[in-house]
């Protein structure tokens, strides 16, 4: 649900087969550096690049299970990432 101009929320029920579509779409967004959220009329674009903070948590309590995945970052002044040259991490020996 688009809550305000720059907020998007979507809740639904999925099964393990259908949820993959959503996870794939998000993965592709991170890969391409462009994540689009919204409706036909109103959408906003996020451009994740550079450093992201990733939080993964899992919890089980009274038969209720929750797995959360949270990615956050800070944008530059015009929606761009704060640092012009993203840090590059290469696998070293």
């Amino acid at each position: 649900m688009a809550v305000s101009d720059d907020e998007f929320k979507h809740e639904s029920i999925q099964d393990t087969e259908l949820i993959i579509k959503y996870l794939k779409a998000l993965t592709e967004g991170f890969q391409s550096g462009k994540l689009i959220f919204g409706t036909k009329q109103k959408k906003f674009i996020l451009e994740p690049n550079g450093l992201l903070r990733l939080g993964i948590s899992a919890k089980r309590k009274d038969r209720k299970v929750k797995v959360s995945l949270k990615a956050s970052w800070t944008e530059g002044k015009e929606g761009k990432e704060l640092y012009p040259d993203p840090l590059e991490i290469k696998a070293g020996k």
Partner: protein
């Protein structure tokens, strides 16, 4: 004129007409007194009281003792008995009139009488009095019912004015005495309604030969139904009762309280086509399994409408057993239910193809759902490269897919197979199905899906009870699966997904708890998405995730 009426000729008929006339005068004069107290009119009322009492005694003697003196047939005896009830209740109405007049003496000022619109109540009473003779003479069930209905109107009238006066009393002031007096007057008018109900029931008794107690009046006319506040209030009362007490035990108590030889009935009226359909369906059910549907006592056409008088079946519904703190009789009733459904479905199974039509049924309800939940109007969403359906697109897509899913056979189905339409008599170990006007040859998944969602949608969140509801749901689902396997129905689960989606979504229009209604809406959307995303693959491979049926 009915044959039995001939015995009314002569003195008894004369006395019946006389007592109606005198009671009418009594009520009319009482209205006059309430408009403007006049000692002459009051005197006439008091004098007439003895005369009416006398008339009642004559009717009582003639009707009651004539059946003892000579051997009478049952219709004759029924006529006499109802005449006795009518005479008695007319005399009571006349007594209430005297009581009202006596109350006026306690009013501090006659001006006070103008504060209440008594005219409405008197109009209702006088109109009903006018119908009594004709209703009795012609054995007219509809007029009998009309008389019964005046009790509801007078109850409502009393309720509204009672609240008004109580508020004035609470506010305090100098009129306490007059306000209390007014309450008494109103209560006597309300009690006149109770007597009219007895009279109406006596007329129905004379007509059908069964002593009835009207438990429920239903209108199957769409336009009337939507405005029927009484039905709405009645349902609210039932809901409150279900939410608090053990239905299983209470219904037993109710049975004990029932009057001797009294047959509780439901009176339904509406368009001829609908009432006739219900009657035919009941007959069809009866021929399949005797005693499963309610008995039909009478069916009458009346111009463009028709009415039907049905046995009011008592006993706990499966819903009562499910919500009972100890799950009283649940296992027993479930075993019985499985047996009956297997028997009926097997007996009526026919390989002719039918359409399941779940999405078409859903479409007819969408505007009602949006009225209750405007935020359910789902627009397409974009999440990265994924674009979700709008609700309209989703149901169009699913409707096209539904038409491609083969329904291998049809069976005789209930058509509105809610939990509370199944009664289990724990004493007689008998099951009954009620509300059968939607029955017909259909996909059996229709009944299974409605039944499963009727459990889910109960707003019960007590873990112990909900666990039981979930277990019951899963057992019923397994029963459906077994039947489908045994009868070669490989697309059962795909059709069930559509039927469930329909029922989840349409059930939201009765649920105003935002969280719970959203839960049902989301399940409906999930099931529809699941169907849509399955296209291109064989429907035989479609598998339902059973968790969609359970909650918590």
């Amino acid at each position: 004129m009915p044959e039995t009426y001939t015995i009314l000729q002569g003195e008894i008929e004369n006395n019946l007409q006389l007592i109606i006339l005198e009671t009418t005068k009594q009520v009319e004069d009482t209205q006059k007194v309430l408009k403007k107290p006049d000692p002459h009119v009051i005197e006439k009322i008091l004098a007439r009281d003895d005369y009416i009492d006398n008339l009642k005694s004559i009717i009582e003697r003639e009707s009651f003792y004539s059946s003892i003196k000579k051997k009478t047939s049952k219709p004759e005896a029924d006529t006499m008995r109802s005449l006795y009830i009518i005479g008695n209740n007319l005399e009571r109405i006349a007594d209430f009139a005297v009581n009202i007049v006596r109350q006026t003496e306690h009013l501090v000022s006659n001006e006070f009488l103008k504060r209440i619109k008594y005219g409405e109540a008197f109009k209702e009473i006088l109109e009903s009095l006018k119908l009594i003779h004709k209703a009795f003479k012609n054995r007219d069930l509809n007029l009998g019912l009309k008389i019964c209905r005046s009790e509801i109107s007078l109850d409502n009238y009393f309720g509204l004015n009672f609240k008004r006066i109580m508020n004035e009393l609470k506010a305090g002031g100098e009129h306490t005495e007059s306000l209390v007096t007014t309450l008494f007057i109103l209560q006597y008018l309300e009690r006149m309604g109770d007597s009219l109900l007895n009279i109406g029931e006596a007329i129905i008794f004379a007509t059908i030969g069964e002593r009835v107690k009207i438990k429920h009046i239903e209108s199957l006319d769409d336009s009337m139904g939507s405005m029927d506040m009484n039905k709405f209030l009645e349902e609210l009362k039932i809901e409150a009762f279900l939410g608090t007490k053990s239905g299983c035990k209470i219904s037993r108590v109710q049975k004990n309280l029932k009057g001797a030889n009294e047959q509780p009935v439901i009176f339904k009226e509406g368009k001829i086509s609908k009432i006739k359909k219900e009657k035919e369906n009941i007959e069809a059910w009866e021929s399949l399994k005797a005693g499963l549907p309610p008995k039909v006592f009478s069916f009458q056409k009346n111009g463009r409408t028709a009415s039907i008088l049905l046995e009011f079946l008592e006993g706990p519904t499966i819903q009562n057993s499910l919500l009972d703190p100890d799950g009283c009789c649940l296992d027993e009733s479930f075993e019985h239910l499985k047996k009956i459904l297997t028997e009926i479905w097997t007996k009526t199974l026919s390989p002719e193809p039918v359409c399941s039509n779940f999405i078409r049924q859903l479409k007819t309800r969408v505007s009602d759902i949006y009225k209750a939940h405007p935020d359910f109007k789902l627009k397409p969403r974009q999440i990265g490269s994924l674009v979700t359906y709008s609700f309209e697109e989703l149901i169009d897509e699913c409707e096209a897919l539904e038409n491609k899913i083969t329904v291998p056979f049809s069976v005789w189905s209930h058509g509105d197979f809610n939990l509370d339409n199944i009664i289990y008599d724990t004493h007689e170990h008998r099951m009954h199905f009620i509300d059968l006007y939607r029955s017909g040859r259909q996909d059996y998944v229709q009944d299974i899906s409605v039944f499963l969602v009727s459990i889910f949608r109960l707003p019960i969140f007590v873990p112990k009870i909900r666990d039981r509801m979930n277990q019951f749901t899963l057992k019923f689902f397994q029963f459906g699966q077994k039947f489908s396997n045994k009868n070669g129905d490989p697309t059962f689960e795909a059709r069930l997904a559509l039927g469930l989606a329909r029922s989840f979504f349409t059930s939201t229009r009765f649920e105003f708890d935002q969280k719970f209604s959203q839960t049902m809406q989301q399940r409906a959307l999930y099931l529809l998405e699941k169907i849509a995303s399955h296209q291109g693959r064989p429907w035989e491979d479609f598998k339902l995730v059973p968790k969609v049926l359970t909650y918590l």
